[in-house]
Amino acid sequence: MLEQRNYLRHDLTALYAFIESIVEGVVSQRNSTAYSPAAIRFLDFVHALAASCKKHLANWRVQDDEEFEDRREELGTIRAAWRELHKLIKPALDADTLQVPSAVVDGIVRRFQEIHGYHETEFVLLHTAEFNYVQIRTADLRNLSAKIRAIIPDSPEFPTNLGVIGMPYSQGRTAFANCLVAHEMGHFVYRDKTFESSLQTAADTALKSVFENYEGQSQEQKDRLIRCVARWAEELFCDLFGVMLLGPCYTFAYIEAYDLSAVLDSAGAISEERMQPRMEFYEYHPSHIFRLQQQSVFLRESHWWDHICKSQARFSTLLQLLRCIETDAHVAQNPTVGRLVPALSAIVPEIRKAAFTAFEEVDDGFALFSQLNRFVRDYLAAGVVPSTLNIRISNDTDDVVAVSAPPLVLLNSGMEFYLTRTDELIRSIQGEDQNQFDCRLRWIRRIEEWVAKAIEDESLEKEETHVDPVKNGDPEAPRP
C-alpha cells in the first residue's frame, strides 16, 4: 500500500486546479470589459495571489512522515482561503461599469472621502443575488492576505484604501435606495477604526450593571452575550454613520426599504398590530423599530430636524412617535433576547460618540442644503436636470451665479422631491395620470435619473477643476 505522502502529487494538483478554476476568468475578462479603477485593483490582487499560490504549490515538498504530519493541513488552509475569495470574484467580474449605478454611488463615495483619513478610499461594487446590501469585510481580507504572506512570502498585499460593497443586482437603476450603501461604508470604518474593541468592552461593562446574574454565567456564556450586544452596537453605529454621511435621505431610504411607515394607522398614530412584529430583534441586528428610533433621536439633535418637520410631515410624524418608545417596551416584545436590550441602550452614548469621532471636522452639509434645496426642487419640478443651478443673487436679472450642488444636497433635495412632489410633477404634465402605476413609475425613474445625472455632471466638473495640466499635456502649464 502506498504511503499517504505518495498521494501528495494528486492532492497538490487538485488544489492547483481549484485555484486555476477560480481565477481563469479574471485575466481574460479584466482585459475585455470596462471596470472601475477600484475593481481593477481588486482583480489584480486576486490575479497576483493566484500566481504566488500556484508557484508555492509547485514547489511544495515534504521530506519525511513527520513533516507530512505537520504540513498536510496547510493545503486545506490554502484551499479555505480560496473558498473565501471564490464568492467575491464572479460578482466582481460581473459588476462592470455598465452594470453598476456608478454616478450615485460615486457621489456617495466622494462624500465619504470628506472623512479624515479616507480621502483616497475607493470601493469595489459587487452585485448580490439577494436583496442585500453587504459590506465585505475588507479589514478581514487585508488581515488574511497578511497572514497568507506569512506562509507564502511572495503573495501580494491587499490593496490599500480599498473597500468592497455588495448591492442587489436589481437596484442598478435606482438612485435613492442606494443611499443604503452608506450603512455598509459605516461597517468599513467601524472595522478600520477598531471601534469594535471599545464597544465590546462597553458591552461587557453594561451587561455587568443591567443583566441579572451576569457574573454567575460561565465565561463562554458571557462571551456570547457580549458578542450579541456588540453585533447590535455595530449595526446601530452604521445607521448613525449613514445619517451623518448622507443626512435624512439615508433614514428615508431605510424607511422605504423596510416599509416602516406601515406602522402608522389610518389616523397617523402607531398601529400596535403592525408595530409589534417590527420590534423583534434579530440575532445580528436590533429590530427595525429600535434602529429607526435611534436614527430619530440622532436626527432630532441635528441641524436637519426642523427642516424634516416642515417638509416631511409623514415621516417626521413617524420619527417623532418612535422617539417616545421606552426601553421596557422593547424588552417586553423580545422574550428571548429582551434582557440584552437594556445593555444595548446603555451603550448607545458610546456608539454615538464613535460616530461623532468618525466624522470629526466633517461638515454635515446642512447649511449648503438650506441654500440650494429650493432651487434643486424647482429644477426637478420643471423637468430640468439640476446640474448647474443658476441662482439670481439680486433684483438685477443679469446678477446670476452658477452653482453645482454636491451629492449630499442633490440626494436630500431629490429624495424630498420624490417623497412630496411626485404627484405635483405628474399633474403638471399634460396627458399623464398620477393614479396610473406605469405613469408614476415612469416619472419616479425620471426623477432618479435627473438626480443621478446631476451628480455625474458635478463629478465631471470637479474632475475638470482638478485636472493636472502637466499630466494632461497642457504646454502652457508651469513645470515643476
Binding site: 505537520d70 504540513r71 488552509t77 464568492k87 439577494e130 453587504v134 465565561q219 445580528y284
Partner: protein, 147 residues
C-alpha cells in the same frame, strides 16, 4: 444561554464571523512552520516568538479564567470564534504542560526548549489548525466576509 438561533431577516446582512476561523487556521499554520524551522535550527527567531505569542498569552488568560473577550488587545486573540476554538482545543491537552512549553519557546535565554516542548507545541497548533478548519468548513455557514 438566553439566545436562541433567531432567523436573520434583515436586508443588510451581518454574517462575517466565519472568516475568523480561517484567520485562526492561518495563524496556527504560521506558528507550525516557525516551530518546525526552530526545531531544526539552533536559534529561536523573532518569527517563532511573534507567531506563537498571541496563542500563548490567550492560553494563559484562559487558564486563569480572565475575561479574554471583554478586554480586547492586539496581544492576544480577540475574536469570539478564535477564543472558543482555543478553548475547545486546549481542553483536550494538559494546560500546565502546554503553557510551560509555550513559555519555553518564547523565552529568549540560552536554554533551548526540550524536544517535548517542541512536540507538544506542534501537536497543539496542528489541532488548532484542524479544529479551526473544521468550523470554517461547516456547510451551514457560508457567508463569510459580509457584514
Amino acid at each position: 444561554m438566553p439566545l436562541k438561533a433567531l432567523r436573520e431577516n434583515s436586508d443588510m446582512v451581518a454574517m462575517g464571523e466565519r472568516v475568523h476561523y480561517l484567520s485562526l487556521a492561518l495563524d496556527a499554520r504560521r506558528a507550525l512552520n516557525a516551530i518546525r524551522a526552530a526545531d531544526k535550527g539552533s536559534e529561536r527567531t523573532d518569527e517563532l516568538r511573534n507567531s506563537i505569542r498571541a496563542a500563548a498569552l490567550s492560553l494563559e488568560m484562559l487558564r486563569t479564567h480572565a475575561d479574554l473577550y471583554a478586554n480586547l488587545s492586539p496581544e492576544h486573540y480577540v475574536q469570539y470564534e478564535e477564543i472558543q476554538t482555543l478553548r475547545e482545543v486546549s481542553s483536550s491537552l494538559d494546560p500546565e504542560a502546554l503553557t510551560q512549553s509555550m513559555k519555553s519557546l518564547l523565552a529568549s535565554g540560552e536554554e533551548r526548549p526540550t524536544a517535548d516542548d517542541f512536540s507538544l507545541a506542534r501537536r497543539f497548533f496542528r489541532a488548532l489548525e484542524s479544529r479551526a478548519l473544521h468550523h470554517y468548513n461547516d456547510p451551514a455557514s457560508s457567508d463569510a466576509f459580509a457584514a
